[in-house]
């Protein structure tokens, strides 16, 4: 694609996948992307663009929502994984943090974290070491360890969800909309931790995000999805500078701020898709 330098070590490769819900609703119309080992890749786009579906197609959580990958392939670490169930993927090191946190409300924060280690077979010692590690990254969770997760704040729940995923010792986390419903300061904090995890623990991230500015500041590479297709991709820095991205996703243009109506008519004239 555009200016993607071929990466020597590709961890995840999604080839032209098509997803159909309920046998009739076509949601993804051929999405392809790659995530390099050790990278943070952002998946951007508006509501209903197919970000969440793409992540779920990779982690195979689609099945329980009556969705299905009907075309294309997902290759993780050199092997096709589109027919594995989510548990098998977690054991291979791919875990999803779902949109809207999805903590186990009636379990305590610590119990939530421990469920993340469900698939592990390396003994209690290793698990409790990792629990300490998670508490190091999220000191707030340690304070709230015995609170029922349903009663913690939105930020704490997001941390809990990420911490829970870390407990599975992932190589790659599929992070869906971590900024949803959080104050800007908290969003910064959480993205900061994601960056830390990426640099110090070597976890690769594929993150779906509506907050384009923040996502591109922390990511290395970005894909922009619209109506179930990738319409643009590139290095995070180049995307941030791209006039179309600025116009559509960051609300800026060379002529200063435009009213929403103008943007829409402009968009009708110039389409990326045809």
């Amino acid at each position: 694609m555009l200016d993607a330098a071929p990466d020597p070590e590709t961890l995840l490769e999604v080839n032209n996948i098509e997803v159909i819900y309920n046998h009739v609703i076509l949601v993804l119309k051929g999405v392809s992307l790659t995530v390099p080992k050790g990278g943070i890749t952002a998946l951007l786009g508006g509501n209903g663009a197919g970000k969440t579906t793409t992540l779920k197609a990779i982690s195979n959580l689609l099945h329980s929502e009556r969705g299905e990958v009907t075309k294309g392939s997902v290759i993780y670490d050199g092997t096709p994984v589109e027919h594995l169930d989510p548990a098998a993927l977690v054991r291979r090191g791919v875990i999803q943090v779902m949109e809207g946190r999805h903590c186990f409300e009636h379990l305590t924060v610590e119990e939530n974290l421990l469920t993340g280690a469900y698939t592990r077979r390396d003994g209690r010692g290793a698990v409790s070491d990792d629990l300490d590690l998670v508490y190091q990254y999220f000191p707030r969770l340690k304070e709230r360890r015995s609170a029922q997760a349903g009663y913690t704040s939105g930020g704490e729940q997001q941390m809990c969800a990420i911490g829970r995923a870390l407990m599975s010792r992932p190589e790659m986390i599929l992070l869906d909309e971590p900024s949803m419903g959080l104050a800007p300061q908290l969003v910064e904090e959480i993205f900061g931790i994601v960056k830390d995890l990426n640099e110090k623990e070597g976890v690769s991230f594929l993150l779906a995000e509506q907050n384009t500015t923040v996502a591109l500041r922390f990511a290395h590479y970005g894909y922009i999805l619209e109506s179930g297709r990738v319409v643009m991709d590139g290095d995070a820095a180049s995307l941030l500078e791209n006039p179309d991205v600025k116009e559509f996703y960051l609300g800026m243009s060379e002529a200063g701020r435009k009213s929403f109506r103008d943007v829409r008519s402009y968009r009708r004239r110039k389409r990326w898709l045809s």
Partner: protein
């Protein structure tokens, strides 16, 4: 006036006049209450982990008891039949998961509920085919359950506790304690509770629905077997037991569909209250046989005031 006094005064005068008899009534009520609670517990476990309202829980009690007795009848020693029955309940759990639950995953709740009615009918039909429809004697002595009775004399009166009832209560308490320990302190138990909270999230951390479902249905099977033994030793083993198993429904309405505490307290409360009502109000005033409907009316009244049941799980809402 006379009627009011019969409703509001006489029963209590009777209770105070013969405290030993009152204690006997309460004890009898507690024993049936424990068994109602056990059946309700089976329901709650399955409901929490899969949102399936398991209509078949009652018939599983009968099926387990029949299997146990049937195996013993063909000459298998009592304890080996017990172990074999556990095996049968495990196979049943695996079978139900494979044949019924797995193909229906993601379907609306009502369809799964209908499926459990199907399981009920299948178990009734299958059970009658294999074991016949007549009433059988539970192999109480053969399992080493004492059948004598303990006579106490509180307040100079007489209180007779049957040893098999005492055993049933102890067995039930042990089962509940073991279950709670399992749910709270083990990896699998945590997974069961997690699944009850959020299916999708449970899947996302790699908890396998299939494994947990088999596990939960197997636990429900174990509970059914214990209940079946306890009840069978009092009333014999036949499909008539199912009527008693249906008592779990008002227990659930009273206690809440999702609460283990609710199932236990609801079961005990209904057991004791229906006995008290029958002896002190039903027989003198209504001609008896109130036990058949009392629990349902009580549940109805509770539903009017607290639709989620007395202990329905608090839905955590953040604003």
């Amino acid at each position: 006036m006379e009627f009011l006094s019969k409703v509001f005064i006489d029963p209590f005068v009777d209770m105070v006049a013969a405290p030993d008899f009152l204690m006997q009534v309460v004890w009898e009520g507690l024993v049936s209450g424990v068994l109602y609670a056990l059946i309700a517990l089976g329901f709650v476990l399955i409901f929490r982990s899969s949102r399936i309202f398991n209509f078949a829980q009652g018939i599983m009690v009968v099926f387990a008891a029949l299997t146990l007795v049937g195996l013993h009848e063909v000459g298998v020693p009592a304890w080996i039949s017990f172990a074999l029955t556990l095996g049968v309940m495990f196979l049943l759990a695996v079978g139900i998961e494979r044949v019924v639950l797995r193909p229906l995953v993601g379907q609306p709740d009502i369809i799964l509920f209908m499926a459990t009615i199907g399981i009920t009918l299948f178990l009734i039909g299958g059970g009658e085919l294999i074991f016949g429809g007549e009433n059988k004697r539970m192999i109480t002595e053969e399992l080493g359950i004492p059948t004598g009775s303990v006579v106490l004399e509180p307040f100079g009166g007489l209180l007779i506790l049957e040893q098999k009832d005492i055993t049933a209560v102890i067995g039930a308490v042990a089962l509940v304690v073991a279950l709670l320990a399992f749910l709270n302190y083990t990896r699998m138990g945590r997974a069961v509770r997690a699944l009850g909270d959020d299916h999708q999230a449970a899947l996302s951390v790699g908890i396998s629905l299939q494994t947990i479902w088999v596990l939960v249905w197997f636990i429900a099977g174990i509970i059914a077997l214990v209940t079946g033994i306890a009840w069978g030793s009092r009333a014999g083993v036949s499909f008539a037991l199912e009527i008693i198993a249906l008592k779990a429904l008002p227990v659930l309405m009273l206690g809440g569909l999702e609460s283990i505490t609710g199932a236990i307290i609801g079961g005990l409360a209904i057991g004791v209250l229906e006995k008290l009502f029958e002896i002190y109000w039903g027989q003198p005033l209504l001609g008896g046989n109130t036990e058949a409907w009392f629990a349902y009316v009580l549940a109805l009244v509770v539903l009017l005031f607290r639709p989620q049941g007395l202990f329905g799980e608090k839905i955590i809402e953040r604003v």
